[in-house]
Subunit: 160 residues, 2 copies
Amino acid sequence: MAETIWSVGKVAKRCGINVSTLHFYEQQGLIHSWRNEGNQRRYKPEVLRRISVIKAAQRVGVSLEEIKQAFESLPNNRTPTVEDWQQLSKNWQQMLDGRIAYLQKLRDNLAGCIGCGCLSMTNCPLYNPDDKLAKSGSGPVLLDQAEQKARAQQEPSASS
Amino acid sequence: MAETIWSVGKVAKRCGINVSTLHFYEQQGLIHSWRNEGNQRRYKPEVLRRISVIKAAQRVGVSLEEIKQAFESLPNNRTPTVEDWQQLSKNWQQMLDGRIAYLQKLRDNLAGCIGCGCLSMTNCPLYNPDDKLAKSGSGPVLLDQAEQKARAQQEPSASS
DNA sequence: GCTTTACCTCAAGTTGAGTTGAGGTTTTAT
DNA sequence: ATAAAACCTCAACTCAACTTGAGGTAAAGC
């Protein structure tokens, strides 16, 4: 219940990040602060939660832009409620399920693939990552990599 | 068995990447080529395997530098054998297991954590990512993020 | 009271992973 | 034989995510 107010330095230390990173996140609209009389930043404890989420998400490869979009489901005007965070959490979990599924698929394919010695261009999932792996079961809630544009199929001409 | 020789354009098209990316990877020492009489790049089919591995690895957040190091276990002078690739594959799988474990832990913690409404700084794994999540079961073979340096523990002073 | 520490802004620099463009050569296709 | 497509080099640009530095103000400790 400690209705604590935080300074940049405290937040930075507590979260293990630089003060400059907090400036940066604020500038990017990921976190918010108000100022005291001396123009110094002050934070609600909520900010720690946000930063924790940012760090956790980054670790799994989510960009700041995507995180920001996820945060936009949180209210700007009032402090997010438990329900607000739960909604975000739900989306997050779908994404994580997708990522996990992808990694598992990749791992399992590696076993039979990377070391198999085959040079079968048409069969090997490693040589054909788009079909077999990239598009595999991820419910892209936050991630939406929108990759693979070039997908021409054309074998070279020479052969022995 | 097709002992095919590849040009940049063919490789690029086949792999769905730009020619400039191949130049770049070569410059970074990730792939190799020789030149024909007209100074144009020529590739062994092996390069497709390398690029596939690069792409797969990048997708799970491995940096080019780490990939390069992994490739250094491959022979420079001769074409990698099945065994060479198998060794690399083994390391890769350990890393993937680590990443999967991390993601699962994160997902499971999210359920009880991000939306729980607790503000318990001392208990919540989200607020204390270093201990609970970051260091959790990953045998860092390729990843070795070497993060968390700043880990001071200091609560702010004010309270209500 | 004064010194040290923390904070402020704003501009510029850094790193990773490429991309773009200019200016020129080779290959391929007709 | 000639035009189009593919290739070459090298330098510069881009973008994300920060970090560093200069020059100055505010707050804390003794």
